[in-house]
């Protein structure tokens, strides 16, 4: 059983998809039950991973390997290390909670859950793949369900529906009818952006494959015995960095992301901001850091510069948004900058912090999106100025929102605090200027989240919204409580987490530092 635990985590949602295909849409409860189970199994199994990973031994554990095509040198090779376990756990939790969050979807619910499960499973697939081919395979596979999920179950953004017909015609996109703020536009933009990024990374992967002299996509083997010519390392690292960073999304490749968040249904936004975006950071670490330590050393300072733009730009734009989901969307872009800062500092503390922060952000942003989705369901608007005073009507939701806000800006007791602190402590010696700006960025986070909290939950209430009601006892509350509880629990007891992550980070950093001693000191930065 435990030998195949990664397969179970990965395939449970796929099995769910297959089962869903045979269930008619007229049985809504059965559809949801299947989806719940398909989300619960990986969640429990991921907790098992976290507590049974041997941090003392380190390295890739729970590995499974099957030859998939000998002629192409592809093996279906699964394994996790300290970096992937938190992300697998986050994906599973967000899938599980996302199923409940989308409980009230009526239109073609079966298809919705099928695509949601594919999305989450593909994301998990990236995190557990130790073969470049399958890493890419699942990466690309996670992008496409987004198109359908946004397109069918999403919502138009920035008042597209309120636009006059003439305005709509003016905003019509190239050749086909994509109004520039419609959900179709958001879906298409997201898919094309991410596919383009993926293709850039694919080219790098194929160059690695062709030049390593091993005829394999196996990351472990490539790391140990591959001899990709030295002069290609820099260009390959950059291709991988920018290919995958487009999903991360680093400034200036972020423009698809807020639109995509805003158009997506709540559960999809959760998965999207919570774990899909982390595919970028994770893949850069898994492929770039692992295979090209020297180039990492030389080029990550570039990320340290770009991430400041992400943090400040995202934060400022978030402050001026009227749409709740745009606020959270830009805030996610901004927070992903912190992860890049932690990654760029290249020491154990900041890297551990970065990985922990990815996990923490998944939960915090998951709660925020879930609540924004709930409020939208109730009031049919996301326009902050027209909302207000909802805390009287929905005290539970408002309470969880406060927890989510606290987690987002890193209040002590939440796991975000620990992650953020480790990032900042770790980078202080290396990038003091960036660290100071990042700390100021936390103030910005506070500003826009408080502004949103005040606008939505406090102040005078429009009598228009007198009919709204609080979250229903079980289905609506359970997912929020799960996320809030996990966030606080690991905020109080982070040690297991930190041990596991450090076991994954330490050898990477050691390799990169070793590479530095070999190469000449000094680079383009």
């Amino acid at each position: 059983m435990t030998d195949h635990i990664l397969s179970i985590i990965l395939f449970a949602p796929f099995v769910g998809v297959v089962l869903l295909l045979f269930i008619p849409n007229e049985k809504p409860l059965l559809v949801r039950t299947v989806a719940v189970i398909a989300g619960l199994v990986p969640t429990l199994a991921s907790f098992y991973l976290l507590y049974h990973y041997d941090s003392a031994a380190g390295g890739y554990q729970f590995t499974e390997q099957y030859v998939w095509s000998k002629d192409l040198g592809i093996s279906f090779f699964l394994g996790v290390d300290g970096i992937s376990i938190p992300l697998v756990l986050a994906s599973s939790i967000l899938l599980f909670t996302g199923v409940f969050i989308s409980w009230h979807i009526e239109d073609r619910a079966k298809e919705f859950y099928a695509f949601l499960l594919i999305l989450a499973a593909a994301t998990i697939g990236v995190y557990v793949s130790l073969d470049l081919f399958f890493l890419y395979f699942f990466y690309e596979m996670s992008v496409l369900p987004m198109y359908v999920l946004l397109g069918i179950w999403g919502s138009h953004t920035k008042g597209y529906l309120e636009m006059a017909d003439k305005q709509k015609r003016d905003s019509v996109g190239f050749i086909f009818n994509f109004g520039s703020n419609s959900k179709e536009y958001a879906a298409m933009k997201l898919t094309l952006f991410l596919s383009a990024g993926a293709v850039v990374a694919l080219i790098a992967i194929l160059i690695i494959y062709a030049t390593s002299g091993l005829h394999t996509f196996n990351i472990v083997e490539l790391q140990a015995h591959g001899h990709v010519p030295k002069h290609l390392h820099d260009i390959l690292f950059l291709l991988i960095f920018f290919g995958f960073a487009s999903i991360a999304p680093i400034w200036p490749l972020h423009s698809w992301s807020p639109v995509g968040h805003a158009a997506a249904p709540a559960a999809v936004s959760m998965l999207h901001a919570g774990v899909l975006m982390k595919l970028g950071h994770f893949s850069i670490i898994r492929v770039g850091y692992t295979l090209f330590p020297e180039a990492t050393r030389e080029w990550m300072p570039l990320a340290a510069i770009l991430c400041i733009f992400s943090i400040v730009y995202g934060g400022l734009v978030a402050y001026f948004q009227r749409d709740t989901k745009y606020v959270i969307g830009y805030s996610s872009s901004s927070h992903m900058g912190y992860v890049f800062l932690g990654m760029a500092s290249l020491n154990v503390i900041s890297m551990t912090g970065a990985v922990l922060y990815m996990f923490a952000h998944a939960l915090a942003t998951g709660m925020l999106f879930a609540i924004a989705g709930y409020v939208y369901d109730q009031t049919h608007t996301r326009d902050i100025p027209s909302l207000g005073g909802l805390s009287a009507k929905m005290p539970f939701i408002a309470g969880i929102f406060i927890v989510a806000v606290a987690a987002s800006f890193g209040l002590p007791l939440t796991v975000n605090f620990i992650g953020e602190l480790m990032i900042l402590v770790g980078s202080w010696n290396i990038y003091p200027v960036q660290t100071i700006i990042a700390v100021l960025g936390i103030g910005l986070t506070l500003a826009y989240l408080f502004r949103m909290m005040r606008g939505v939950f406090y102040g005078p209430m429009d009598p228009h919204y007198a009919h709204v009601h609080d979250a229903s006892p079980f289905v609506d509350r359970l997912p929020l409580l799960v996320m809030a509880a996990t966030s606080i629990y690991f905020g109080l007891f982070p040690s297991q987490f930190i041990h596991v992550i450090q076991a994954g980070v330490t050898p990477l950093i050691a390799a990169i530092e070793g590479a530095q001693q070999l190469s000449q000191i000094g680079g383009p930065f």
Binding site: I175, M188, A210
Partner: protein
């Protein structure tokens, strides 16, 4: 040289699939002729059963690794030839299944349709075994001849007639170029055998260069690569849709059998002299096909331009000009077969009910027929190259082969084209899944059509998720041929 005709039983055995095929099509013709009242679908099922039998025979030949040459090396049977023969039979079976409903629209000559289809298939099976210039010319014209008639099969439909005429005129023009190229090669070398050319890997004279170029142009016309693609959209649109499906895959595969033999086996050792040509044609085909496809408003034309782009992708494998490149071409055709025939099957089912191929009529298809919508989603995503579907593995395979030969620029162009193509495939998917339907009549799917859809969807998923067996077949198919390179 005195001509002595000797054929041993072993030789006859090598020719057995074609002999049986000839028998089968004679039976179909005579049954139709002698029993005019016979149900035409019976003829179709009979042809399918016959071809199924021959398919099994070919599979047996493949497993036993039969090979040899006939008629003074003019005709070669090797695993690659057998692969393509089986491929063509498989395509023909799927196309016949997909034709049954459609033919109810045709008032007369419904029986002859199957006869002509079998005749075309026989011609293409022979093409797969071509090993010299003359049999190349004859088999190519043999198969194209049936297509001239099939394309113009809807006698009362102006578009179909126009398409037939266009195809005929351009086809004859290409045949002329081919004949001219052949005569130049023969004049320069005094031989017509591919194997002889392979031995003469000396210097290229202008005559040889022009000869090879002319042949390449003629074959480029058959596969519809840019800049020899002008016929493709009009003929795809005008021809009866099952014929379009047939035309979009089988002749291209058969022509690629010849292209592989000429480029890799015959002039493989002067690769440096011609690889830029294939690289260029491939890059232009992909880019042109994908960009022009964006503007299409008719699904058959969209598939036509997408087909041009797909041929560009196959040419990447040819440009790699390695054993792996050959494998990837074979594998790509397998992935393309399922996705493309499947997509055309959806078009056939849809147009049977609505008499329309306009893209805007596909609005809201998922509410009218979830099965068709899902199938179309799978096929289009496979054509776009999205995992876990067949097209992704096919694209990755040709890319990897080209990358191994250092063709980075071509792979980059191929990668950019994946993104471009995704746009127009997704636009159709948007129509199907997101837009609201104009009318709500459900779309019935008949039994043969269901068979086609399930086979093709199954094929696309299987090749995408667990292609090991098929990759091994592709690799084994080029084994003999790999030694020639």
């Amino acid at each position: 040289m005195p001509f002595t005709f000797t054929m041993t039983p072993a030789d006859v055995e090598l020719l057995m699939p074609e002999i049986l095929m000839t028998g089968l099509l004679s039976v179909i013709l005579f049954l139709d002729f002698l029993f005019p009242r016979i149900e035409k679908t019976t003829l179709a099922w009979l042809s399918i059963a016959g071809m199924g039998g021959i398919f099994v025979l070919l599979a047996d030949y493949f497993i036993e690794d039969r090979h040899g040459t006939l008629f003074r090396e003019m005709y070669i049977v090797d695993p690659m030839a057998i692969f393509f023969k089986a491929f063509i039979l498989g395509t023909t079976i799927l196309v016949f299944l997909a034709s049954m409903d459609y033919l109810k629209k045709v008032p007369v000559f419904r029986g002859e349709y199957y006869f002509l289809g079998l005749l075309a298939a026989l011609g293409m099976m022979l093409m797969a075994s071509v090993n010299d210039l003359l049999s190349m010319f004859i088999t190519l014209e043999f198969s194209t001849f049936s297509f001239y008639i099939l394309v113009a099969y809807l006698r009362d439909d102006a578009q179909s007639n126009e398409a037939g005429l266009k195809y005929f005129i351009l086809g004859v023009f290409a045949a002329g170029l081919l004949a001219f190229g052949i005569s130049l090669l023969y004049g320069e070398t005094g031989s017509i055998l591919f194997t002889d050319f392979a031995k003469m890997h000396a210097h290229l004279t202008p005559g040889l260069i022009i000869g090879f170029l002319l042949i390449f142009v003629a074959l480029g016309f058959k596969v519809g690569a840019v800049p020899f693609h002008a016929w493709v959209p009009d003929i795809y649109q005008g021809a009866p849709t099952p014929v379009t499906a047939f035309l979009s895959i089988a002749p291209k595969a058969a022509t690629f059998a010849i292209l592989l033999r000429i480029f890799m086996a015959t002039v493989g050792d002067i690769k440096g002299d011609w690889v830029w040509l294939v690289v260029g044609i491939s890059a232009i085909s992909m880019t042109y096909g994908n960009i022009v496809a964006i503007a299409q408003k008719n699904i058959k034309r969209l598939l036509a331009y997408s087909g041009i782009a797909q041929i560009g992708n196959v040419l990447i494998g040819l440009a790699a000009a390695s054993k792996m490149g050959g494998d990837s071409v074979l594998f790509y055709f397998l992935t393309y077969l399922f996705a493309n025939v499947g997509a055309f099957a959806v078009v056939i089912i849809f147009s049977n009910l609505t008499n329309s191929d306009a893209l805007e009529d596909y609005d809201g298809l998922s509410r009218r027929s979830p099965l068709l919508a899902f199938a179309l989603l799978i096929f289009f995503l496979s054509l776009a190259g999205v995992p876990p579907l067949a097209g992704f593995i096919g694209k990755l395979y040709v890319f990897a082969a080209a990358m191994n030969e250092g063709l980075v620029a071509l792979v980059v162009i191929g990668g950019i084209n994946i993104v471009i193509s995704m746009y127009y495939y997704l636009v159709v998917i948007k129509r199907v899944y997101i837009n609201m339907p104009k009318e709500n009549t459900p779309i019935p799917v008949s039994f043969p059509m269901r068979l086609v859809l399930f086979t093709t969807v199954g094929g696309v998923l299987f090749l995408g998720i667990y292609p090991k067996a098929f990759i091994e077949i592709s690799v084994a198919a080029t084994n003999l041929f790999g030694r020639m390179i």
